[in-house]
Symmetry: C2
Subunit: 104 residues, 2 copies
């Protein structure tokens, strides 16, 4: 179901592990739908990942998913990290990242 994932980050990452939803710039409900779909397809856990400004949206997606759609799901883990990204001019800069693991 690679089509459920957001294309922007998939292109840079190469491959996407299962049960991961990468948060981009679309409205939060698009990603909530992806999370809920994974749980409805039998997933025991789903990781919600974001970088930079999308981090706020990742928290929204996790909160909306568990409060409104899949009530038996809890936040199993939250990890923050810094990633180095290459800019178009060849310089490198750091960007914060978050990974929220939802599990039932």
């Amino acid at each position: 179901m690679a089509g459920d994932y957001n294309g922007e980050q998939m292109a840079t990452d190469g491959s996407i592990p299962e049960n991961v939803v990468l948060i981009g710039k679309k409205p939060p409900m698009n990603y909530v739908l992806a999370v809920v779909t994974q749980f409805n397809n039998g997933a025991r856990s789903v990781k919600v990942r974001a970088r930079g400004n999308a981090i706020s949206r990742a928290v929204d997606v996790a909160e909306i998913s568990r409060h409104r759609f899949v009530n038996d799901v809890r936040v199993e883990n939250i990890a923050i990290s810094s990633e180095e990204i290459s800019n178009e001019d060849g310089t490198r800069s750091k960007v914060s990242a978050i990974e929220i693991t939802l599990a039932r």
Copy 2:
């Protein structure tokens, strides 16, 4: 040292517990300075709190603080939640929140 805190959220919250840095719309380094100051003043832990779009900035502040300024500090806990806020027109809406606990 109430002056280190960001005024917007302090007004609605009433009182601010010690060792809490509320993230608002200022540049991240302002809040990093507040975090580092608290640790330099002997705090064993500092909570970084934010709501809505400031959540991304809170993660930046935590990451910059522990990687660049106080290297013996680790992320002790991260909690996400939903808070209800009153809009100016009397309606209520939900906003996501994060609390990152840094500890040495």
